[in-house]
Symmetry: C2
Subunit: 196 residues, 2 copies
């Protein structure tokens, strides 16, 4: 498997224990690390340099799991794109203020903030200034999603497995949610509008 | 404005009323149609041929608004991609069955089904076979989102405006939800894990 050799050479996988001059033994820890690296590269689309940074964060013992998950989440999110509307920045800041326990990190410091400001700026640019009124309902819904997501990743025991499940769950979950949202639209719109 | 001339030439905008040999009058209906065409092309990324199909559906008087919204939603969703896992197809079918009022349209007939099967197939291909267990919580959350979305579009009165708000709300809303989900992850993970 050439990729494994490549990951070993890049220092993303620790070397196995040599059992003979040309044989090495790899244990479960190696396999878990390999799954994590693959999730970051293949599903997350991260560069080798970015994977190295994530692994450094994961391997830092002083950090709480909460902080590790936050660091990985930033690494798998894209920075702000397009023209950013200053009013959209204010709307996002107000949203963070309403959900009190957050610190507001600006678009330069946080990809998650950047993603939100980019989307609201795009809405404003096509005349949809009232979009931020949806944010509190969206947050209420996303709390249900986040609780289910956390339960899903908490079944794992090793920190590599938890982080791997978080990467897969976040990225593939985005696509699943997009589809489920459309199913819910069909249901709710039928209840409200269909007079057949 | 060259784009408007282009849309007129392609028959996506009805001609104005000539007020002099080289002046035409456009009313509010024209403007609403222009906004809708722009949303479909610029935000939805639809081809001119696809826009024409959507407009035909929108202009068909026999159709209920519920059916029109469904047709547009399919038009702004991508068909299935990647290798489709037959077990993922069964999982999606079971999900539709549990939420009884839906008919299950296969991946060939519905882009929304295709999107869901594609995402669950991708999860399975990286060893995440239990992902479908999240679907019911996701549906519960998405009902909250869908009710907020429907309220948002129902403020409009003309059918062009309703469809335009649905296109913008669905596509830009996907990006907003992705970001809000990450904010909710941070909140829920802190509550559950942070011991600082």
């Amino acid at each position: 498997m050439p990729t494994i050799k490549y990951y070993l050479r890049e220092g993303l996988l620790p070397a196995g224990v040599l059992t003979s001059p040309n044989q090495a033994h790899y244990d479960d820890g190696h396999l878990r690390r390999l799954r994590l690296v693959r999730a970051l590269v293949d599903v997350g689309g991260l560069s080798i340099a970015a994977v190295r940074e994530v692994l450094t964060a994961v391997d830092t013992n002083e950090e709480s799991m909460h902080h590790k998950l936050g660091a990985v989440q930033e690494a798998i999110s894209q920075p702000a794109t397009g023209e950013l509307d200053p009013i959209a920045v204010k709307d996002v800041q107000a949203f963070f203020d309403r959900h009190g326990e957050f610190e507001f990190f600006g678009v330069d410091e946080s990809n998650v903030t950047g993603m939100l400001v980019s989307a609201l700026s795009a809405a404003r640019s096509v005349g949809h200034d009232h979009f931020p009124e949806l944010l509190d309902s969206y947050m209420e819904a996303m709390r249900i999603v986040a609780r289910a997501d956390l339960e899903y990743i908490a079944r794992r025991t090793s920190s590599d497995d938890i982080i791997e499940a978080m990467v897969i769950g976040t990225l593939i979950g985005d696509a699943v949610l997009k589809a489920v949202r459309r199913v819910a639209h069909a249901e709710v719109s039928r209840e409200a509008m269909d007079t057949d």
